[in-house]
Amino acid sequence: MSRHTEPNRDAELLQGTLDMLILKICALEPIHGYGIVQRLQQISKEALHIRQGSLYPALYRLENKGWLKAEWNKTEGGREAKYYRLTPAGRKQLEEEKAGWSRLCEAIALVLNAAE
């Protein structure tokens, strides 16, 4: 059964890619969950949409794997928020995932071009 049945969305995230995107966004600066969603939509020019609640299990998972580290800090508006930042292990993972992604894209491109 499908858990995020959100119709009228442009693209559903490929399984596994959400983790990579989160790592990428956290690599820029420590950021809270809401910020990650904003950044994701902003960078992808509103093309990528996720059910925002499903971001959190991914964050917990990455934190458990030791790729993200979380801290409670004050926001600019003076509210308490949980900020995530990349650990060295997370940076290594990100590099690996980026490399894997490029290989996958190249491979797909090869297939598509060959077919034409």
Partner: protein, 875 residues
């Protein structure tokens, strides 16, 4: 719940930020909140998923599931009680048996490096009839000198001693041991010392070591016991040491050596020069292999030494072949197969219990199908739902384990009471750590196994289907019913196999008890006497005592006969000798495969007292010379196969030595007698008159009575006392008691297997009853409909019975096939019946069918009495 709060705060922050953003874009607060919630998705779901991702969360889940499970179990106490009781029976039986298996087969023996200790038996290549012999004192001497692969050799032979002096004269079991006996075993004494090398020389050997038991019993645990003297067999002996309470030595019958059931006294073995001239195969030998030496290498060295000097006149090719036997086998070999089979039987019982519990679970889960389907529809993963269900079986398993341990503790006590007394290691069975671990492992694995299958099935169901069709579809679901029927069939098959094994053992036991042993078992009293001291130094004095005693006993009112024999045949044969005909030479012993016979010396009254069947000639009479003999039928037929029994009377033979032993004339032929346990090997038998020089200090006296023998024990005791107050009088036993003790191992196994089989039958009946009742409950509406359409009570009864009994029949058939297979494993334990014994198997089939029919009948009758109108409204 700190983490829960933080998770909540994090998500609230997200939602509030979203709302604030939408309000900033111009939405009303209400619209913004709604939009935010829809963008975020269900908060609880997100939280649930986060919890799944958290480390250590599984432990928390488990705890929550366990609490939930215990709450839901408390709500269905009937189910919980049935499941716990079923598991506890299985666990209890298995734990009790495992404690015995552990004590006898697994627990390290209380010696230094027990794995290096061996005993030995020897066969002679050209004399297969001799069987396996223990050693000779000469072997001990030779091996101690030249067996370089061994770090120690010790000899031991059975001894019985009269303790007199302070207190009641007492006859104690003991052993004659070489001086290095204790050092080879590596067991230091609890008090004093053990023997030193010179103490096994004649003249030096007036020292003894006593057991902890004797020290406490007879000497009231006297702390100054070491150095005191006691009178043993009429001679003063100094106590030099006391063994520790845990000291373990061979007891009971080892090969042909009749050790006492309890060893209380050790005396140094001091063979005289005359004794060393004779070769007597009556020395038990203990060897300790050097560290790192292979047993086979050691064995070959012993063989080389044994055969280095050929016996005089031996034909070429005669060899002594020794066999090294690990010391554990001395204690365990006789009961190993029985114990392993018992463990198998209790394992089957556990499987049945497991099946029963699984069946209970299936019913329970079927009735909660909607609940589980709902949970899965709401997004709970299958694993989560299964863990939730398994939590219940985990709790039940724990409770089953607890109750099972209580049952096991009681069971072990019963086990001890009915266990054969000469298996010393059994007495050490108890609830120790390894046994506890076994119980816990067994309960968890059975509990979880019985819960897993139903839980897995429940989760496989299409949730949507269950929700659509409602609970009723799930309850009466064809597949669920089929699964439970398969379980019932399985349970029946296992139960049948177990019951059939029990029936075969029971039938064998009945055959053994009723078998003709060649002597009378009822109304015979026996007492083992031994004379000691100066007044019995001469054979004539020994003879006079026993003559006088048997005459007096015969004169007692109610006594029809009295006589003596050197060893009660029911307990075995003490000595064997080769039987020669006139003209046979020394060479013939090895070349012609001459018969080897067990022999006893008897007083004239013995045959009448024991009721030995006379086939030809006559019993001994008072005036018979020492050169007469009564032989058994098998020996007569072996020696003179062509002649009739009456014709054989008057024939002559020799015993043992072709030159020096006199020719003996046969005066009578009696039936072969069989030892009490009956299945031990049977040899031809010779009886000789108890006359000088064939007299001995030890004799078993038999008294045949007209009525119940117990009333005479006092009078017999009094007669012995009157004749000599210094003769120790051990317990006066009936022949039935002796036979009964001899079959103790058989009875032990038969009773336990029967107990397990009956429990299996009970569990099976409960299982069938549960399944059929459940099926009736699910089909109430159908039954109502059929009745409304005109079906009679008989129709309903018949259909419910048929449905209930179908899996039983399948199980019964499968189980009978399995039982015939199992019987081949049991074969060596059966007596007088074939593995496919029709009486036992038919009995089992009948018993099972009646029980199953009864278990089906009760719910079937309930179904047939339903009120159609009420049944139709049933939901």
């Amino acid at each position: 719940m700190k983490r829960e709060e933080r998770m909540d705060a994090e998500m609230r922050f997200h939602l509030e930020s979203l709302i604030r953003e939408y309000v900033r874009q111009g939405m009303t607060l209400e619209a913004a909140a709604q939009r935010a919630r829809s963008e975020f998705g269900p908060v609880e779901l997100a939280k649930d998923e986060c919890r799944d991702e958290s480390a250590f969360q599984w432990a928390e889940h488990l705890w929550r599931d366990l609490r939930l499970a215990s709450r839901s179990l408390r709500k269905s106490l009937g189910f919980a009680a049935a499941a716990v009781l079923t598991l506890a029976l299985g666990i209890g039986a298995n734990t009790a048996i495992f404690s015995a298996v552990y004590a006898v087969l697994l627990k390290p023996l209380p010696y230094v490096h027990p794995e290096q200790l061996y005993t030995v038996d020897i066969s002679i290549s050209k004399l297969p009839e001799l069987g396996r012999l223990t050693g000779r004192i000469q072997d001990y001497i030779a091996w101690r000198k030249s067996a370089t692969l061994f770090s120690g050799v010790a000899g031991m032979s059975p001894g019985y001693f009269n303790l007199t002096g302070s207190g009641e004269p007492e006859r104690v079991g003991g052993a004659l041991v070489t001086s290095d006996f204790f050092t080879v075993l590596g067991v230091p004494p609890a008090h004093g010392r053990t023997f030193v090398p010179d103490e096994d020389k004649p003249g030096q050997s007036n020292v003894i070591v006593i057991s902890d038991g004797l020290w406490r019993r007879r000497f009231a645990a006297d702390p100054d016991i070491v150095g005191k003297t006691v009178v043993v067999d009429g001679r003063s002996q100094r106590i030099i040491g006391v063994t520790p309470p845990s000291f373990l030595v061979p007891t009971g019958k080892i090969s042909y050596l009749p050790f006492a059931e309890r060893i209380d006294l050790w005396k140094p073995r001091a063979p005289t020069d005359a004794e060393l001239q004779n070769e007597n195969w009556n020395e038990g030998l203990l060897l300790r292999l050097k560290a790192g030496v292979a047993a086979e290498a050691g064995r070959q060295q012993l063989e080389a030494i044994l055969n280095s000097k050929a016996p005089p006149n031996a034909p070429p090719g005669l060899r002594f072949v020794p066999r090294l036997i690990p010391i554990r086998d001395v204690y365990a070999s006789r009961v190993r197969l029985r114990l392993v089979l018992l463990l198998g039987a209790s394992g089957l019982l556990l499987l049945i219990a497991c099946t029963n519990t699984a069946s209970l679970f299936l019913a329970r889960i079927a009735s909660r199908a909607t609940e589980f389907a709902t949970r899965m529809a709401l997004g709970a993963g299958r694993a989560r739902v299964m863990v939730h269900m398994l939590a219940e079986s985990f709790l039940l398993a724990l409770a089953g384990c607890g109750l099972g341990l209580l049952l096991a503790a009681a069971g072990i006590r019963v086990l001890m009471a009915s266990a054969p007394t000469d298996v010393g290691l059994l007495r050490q069975a108890g609830l120790n750590l390894p046994v506890l671990l076994f119980a816990i492992a067994a309960s968890l694995s059975t509990g979880l196994a019985s819960g897993f299958f139903p839980a897995w099935r429940a989760c496989r169901k299409d949730a949507a289907l269950v929700l659509q069709e409602g609970a009723r579809a799930a309850l009466g679901g064809l597949r669920a019913t089929r699964a439970r029927q398969v379980l019932v069939g399985l349970e029946m098959a296992l139960g049948t196999a177990l019951l059939a094994s029990a029936a075969l053992l029971l039938h064998s036991f009945v055959k053994v008890m009723n078998a003709d042993r060649g002597y009378v078992v009822d109304n015979v009293l026996t007492v083992d006497l031994a004379l000691s001291g100066e007044s019995y130094a001469k054979p004539q004095q020994q003879l006079a005592f026993y003559r006088e005693l048997t005459d007096r006993l015969r004169a007692l009112p109610g006594v029809s006969a009295a006589g003596g024999i050197t060893l009660i045949p029911a307990t075995g044969v003490a000595d064997f000798q080769v039987v020669l005909l006139d003209g046979n030479t020394e060479q013939d012993i090895l070349r012609k495969n001459l018969p080897i016979a067990g022999y006893w010396e008897v007083t004239p009254g013995y045959f009448a007292a024991s009721g030995t069947t006379l086939l030809a000639g006559r019993y001994f009479q008072q005036q018979d010379a020492v050169t007469t003999a009564v032989i058994s039928e098998s020996l007569a037929k072996r020696l003179w196969p062509a002649e009739s029994l009456t014709h054989i009377i008057g024939h002559q033979f020799r015993q043992g030595d072709p030159v020096h032993s006199p020719l003996v004339t046969i005066v009578g032929i009696v039936a072969d007698i069989r030892p009490g346990a009956i299945d031990r090997d049977l040899r031809p038998q010779i009886y000789r008159p108890f006359l000088p020089p064939r007299v001995d200090t030890d004799m078993s006296v038999l008294v045949r009575t007209a009525q119940a023998p117990a009333v005479l024990t006092g009078a017999i005791r009094q007669e012995i006392r009157k004749l000599d107050p210094n003769v120790p009088i051990p317990a006066i036993r009936t022949m039935r008691e002796i036979v009964s003790a001899a079959v103790a191992e058989r009875r032990f196994q038969m009773q336990l297997t029967a107990l397990f089989a009956l429990l299996a039958l009970l569990l099976g009946a409960i299982g069938i009853y549960g399944v059929v009742s459940y099926a009736v409950a699910c089909r109430t509406r159908d039954i109502g409909l059929r009745m409304a359409l005109g079906a009679s009570e008989q129709d309903i009864l018949g259909s419910v019975l048929a449905n209930g009994l179908r899996p039983v029949l399948f199980g019964l058939a499968a189980g009978l096939c399995a039982a015939i297979g199992a019987a081949h494993v049991l074969r060596s334990l059966l007596y007088g019946i074939a593995p496919g014994d029709p009486v036992a198997l038919a009995g089992v089939a009948g018993l099972l069918l009646v029980t199953a029919a009864l278990a089906c009948y009760l719910p079937a009758r309930r179904a047939s009495r339903l009120e159609p109108a009420a049944a139709l409204r049933h939901e």
